[in-house]
């Protein structure tokens, strides 16, 4: 009978300046729950990269974080253009971001690889023209 805590966030896709707010709030929630700093950092970075991706590629979306006794699960769902070739998108340095996104400090083709780097499990479910759902888990045990 393990308890699951759920945190739900709406990620506004119109405003690049506010991107990262959900991750910031989640970071504070995890601190309040007394999670170890390394775990908090892994969750924050993975969620932040995902949030930025949703804002720059998909016009926003929704984020759900489930905290169980075994793991922390981050589910990021958007109704954006989808990812054509996931294998290619996972390569470090590959990016479809525009120059204007690069001038904001993102679009170096490190977002998805970073998300994988900081998590123990990552699944990308994407359909072109429909949207993308990314599920990531960070083990607590």
């Amino acid at each position: 009978m393990s308890e699951v805590l759920n945190f739900h966030f709406v990620v506004n896709g119109e405003d690049f300046t506010s991107a990262g707010q959900a991750s910031m709030m989640m970071k504070r929630n995890l601190r309040q729950l007394g999670m170890p700093p390394e775990i908090i950092r892994q969750v924050s970075i993975a969620m932040y990269e995902g949030e930025i991706n949703m804002v720059i590629h998909a016009g926003g979306g929704e984020a759900d974080v489930n905290v169980t006794e075994e793991y922390i699960e981050i589910i990021l769902a958007d109704k954006g253009p989808g990812i054509k070739d996931i294998e290619q998108a996972m390569q470090e340095g590959f990016s479809t971001a525009t120059d204007s996104i690069r001038s904001l400090g993102f679009g170096a083709g490190m977002g998805l690889p970073n998300m994988k780097r900081y998590t123990d499990y990552m699944d990308i479910d994407s359909e072109v023209g429909v949207g993308t759902t990314i599920t990531m888990r960070i083990n607590l045990q």
Binding site: G20, I45, Y48, L104, G105, F106, A108, G109, M110
Partner: protein, 118 residues
């Protein structure tokens, strides 16, 4: 290296969180690409950047960095300063360019390779 030493070495101006100048940093990272910064976790690091937008502060916050140095006399916006105050991140602004600023800190012992494995 203490943040106050960084300030002296780079002839930097303090933008906010002056009360944290005696805090230590153990590594450094110089980049305008935030995803490159996010790729490798460093322990109590300083971020040197020429990029000025709110995501610089959020990136530092996610990485638990406690100091950001803006190079080439770039100044953060009021909104960025508020975010940095909330997160307890010292903001400095130096007239030096990125290459020179990094070189000065490196040659004074902040070698920046204390990368932690997560």
């Amino acid at each position: 290296m203490k943040i106050s030493t960084i300030k002296e070495l780079l002839k930097a101006e303090i933008v906010c969180c002056e009360d944290m100048l005696e805090h230590e940093v153990f590594s450094a990272c110089g980049s305008d690409m935030m995803s490159d910064v996010l790729a490798y976790v460093k322990d109590q690091a300083v971020l040197l950047t020429g990029l000025v937008n709110s995501q610089v502060i959020r990136t530092a916050e996610m990485m638990d960095m406690n100091c950001i140095v803006f190079v080439r006399s770039k100044m953060p916006t009021a909104e960025m300063i508020e975010l940095a105050k909330d997160s307890g991140i010292v903001l400095l602004a130096t007239p030096k360019r990125m290459y020179e600023a990094c070189g000065i800190l490196y040659s004074n012992g902040l070698v920046g390779n204390r990368v932690k494995n997560v």
